[in-house]
Amino acid sequence: MHRVNAIRDTLSGRHLVVTGATGFVGKVWLAHLLTTVPDVGRVTLLVRGARREPALHRVARMIDTSPAFRPLRDAVPQDLGAWLDARIEVIDADITRPHCGLDHDTRERLAAPAVALVHIAGLTDFQPDPRKGLPANVDGTRHAARLASTFRFPRMVHVSTAFVAGMRDGEITEALIPGVSPLGVPFDVDEEIAHAHALCAEVAEVDQRIEQLAARAKGLGWPNLYTYSKGLAEHLLAHMPVDVTIVRPTVVECARTFPFPGWNEGLNTSGPILWFCGTAFRALPANARHRFDVVPVDAIARALTVVLARHLNGVAEPIHHVGTSANNPATFERIVELSALAKRRHASRASATVWERLEAMVDVVPRTVDETPYVDPARVEAWGRDLHGWLTRLDVKGRWTGLGSLGEAIDKRVHTARKDLAKQNRRMGQLRKMLDAYKPFLHDHDWIFRSDAIQRANRELHPDDRADFLDDLSTLDWRHYWLDVQYPGIVKWAFPLMDNREPPLDPPSHPPLALGVHDLEVRRAERAQGVA
């Protein structure tokens, strides 16, 4: 006898409201849900539209061209638009506005059938402009929770981050003490949010806003504005009139199996690290002994569905860490080693350039700031600045005219070199800033996120659900994952972004997928007949 119902039985015919379905985690979760639970009653997606592209078109384009939806497109090769119209509904919404920007009628319409709100939306930049970060992560959560509280079953699954644990080391339990910051400082969350908003309104300069609020966040124990805003959101939810369960992923990275191995979107934490390993720098500022808690995005998607089903069955725990540091840890030493080896492997291919081959001969190693430093981006930036100053003094038009045509050539060369050097200095500056932003995660803290709740949920999975929803991270083979999945995935899907290029999308169908054009009632009747 199993303690919980099968996930498909639980979600069959249920109406869910979802935010953040167009993000990295949201896409994979939605695609996985629709592929594995096609009998889900209805999924209402709250999506922000734009003047040029309403939400409905945005979602249609996403499903049509995002690689995350390949398995769904393969599973429903015919008439996908009609199939989707019978299952999903897209509403123009904005979580940063009260009631998520929904009018009264829409809220009334959702209140009766909706059984839970899955809140995935958020801004994941480490140091965003707080004028954007706070509305997205804090106000957005408040508005989503208020919307969920109007449902007949006021339930919510909130996707947070494990790093709300803040600047602490060692074992982090799946718990939250409302009103107590990571450093143990008591605080009033509403006052804190009001203060943060006031600071945003007062300080006109973006960098100053970031600096001042980041200092405040650090005073409470959060290493950056992302964890600060996510942390405040969790504290806020603790006194909202809604039954909440929280999913806290660690560092979300390339998919292990769904939609296919290696898929990734955007610049996640390890993208810039792997990119750094591909430079000529020898030392990455990281603590070799600390754990790097990474989790594949499809493991999050599966865990989210498992937690959602348990929440609907009334057996979910309040907080679920989804990570690897407690049960299958990989240290920075191993991750950096595997990254260097992946680069070496990549460079051994015939297509690699001579420069790539030379760079691969230098293996990056993790170094703490106390160890003898190798040449780092900050030092190169300083040298570059000195050299640039020197070239600027030389780059005076007509300085070499006395040398005739040779002087003109020197003039030209000096000018070009100065411009190139300025460009390289900017790049070094970006790299240094990136390393500064990542330092708390790579260097300063050793987090061990206990993930007992999701393990318990996995153990109690119904046998019918194991094939589609069990993702046992304790069996993750790091070598295979990093070399064969993560590195190729990052090279294909994230590195183009580092060079301001767009990663490839799937070609749109002909004619392009259209949503909202099929008569809902007819499709429902057809579905009912099909089920009967």
Binding site: E337, L338, L341, R344, R345, S348, D363, V365, R479, L483
Partner: protein, 217 residues
């Protein structure tokens, strides 16, 4: 005890034109630590002359240069070594002999002083029953530099053959061995049916003395 003959093939020389010391040098040059790369290569420069005097010691010194390498590194280096160095190093004569043995229904065992990471999948690829080779000893995911016992150092002798025969249930009177270097002489002299394959000068002389068959390219 099975009736099928057992054919022992020395990988180095007979099947592949690569030596284990070459593999050690290739890997040592790709050690993570730059200092270890240099000291490793310097140490390996002395192992070649030492190999002629005491191959057991030379083998141990050669692989000790990889002390401190992670199991991940040795796995990947093994893979790259196979792609980079072994793909074009097959010895056609040896492969032809191995095919003939398999067609006859002989049991084939490969003997190598390479480490297992460098020859992973070789037994399956060649249809051999077993690959006898060296294995690194790891502590906390890093090679200690020592090799797991028994260390195969290229000078397998009669006692090695008897032990292997007992382990595989083979009839000692139906064991063949194929070697090509002088260092394989002890192996060849320890089996009932020795065969020198494109032998070097010293092995050729011994093969003539003991009337061992010689297979030329």
């Amino acid at each position: 005890m099975t009736e099928r003959p057992l054919a022992l093939f020395r990988v180095e020389g007979v099947l592949l034109k690569r030596s284990a010391l070459g593999c050690a040098a290739w890997m040592a040059a790709r050690h993570r630590d730059l200092g270890s790369r240099l000291t490793g290569l310097a140490a390996l420069a002395f192992t070649r002359p030492l190999d002629a005097v005491d191959s057991a010691v030379a083998t141990k010194i050669a692989w000790r240069t990889l002390a401190g390498c992670s199991d991940d590194r040795l796995y990947v280096l093994g893979e790259l070594y196979r792609e980079d160095r072994l793909e074009d190093a097959w010895n056609a004569v040896g492969l032809d002999l191995l095919d003939r043995c398999k067609r006859r229904g002989d049991r084939v065992v490969l003997l190598s002083d390479h480490p297992d990471v460098a020859l992973s999948g070789l037994a399956d690829r060649l249809g051999a029953e077993r690959l006898v080779c060296n294995r690194f000893v790891y502590e906390d995911g890093k090679a200690t530099g020592a090799l797991a016992e028994p260390v195969f150092h290229g000078r397998a002798d009669g006692s090695f053959v008897r032990k292997l025969a007992a382990e595989l249930g083979a009839d000692p009177s139906r064991i063949m061995a194929y070697g090509c270097h002088a260092s394989d002489a002890t192996l060849l002299s320890g089996v009932a049916l020795p065969c020198a394959v494109t032998p070097d000068l010293r092995l050729r002389g011994m093969a003539s003395t003991f009337d061992w068959p010689i297979v030329e390219a």
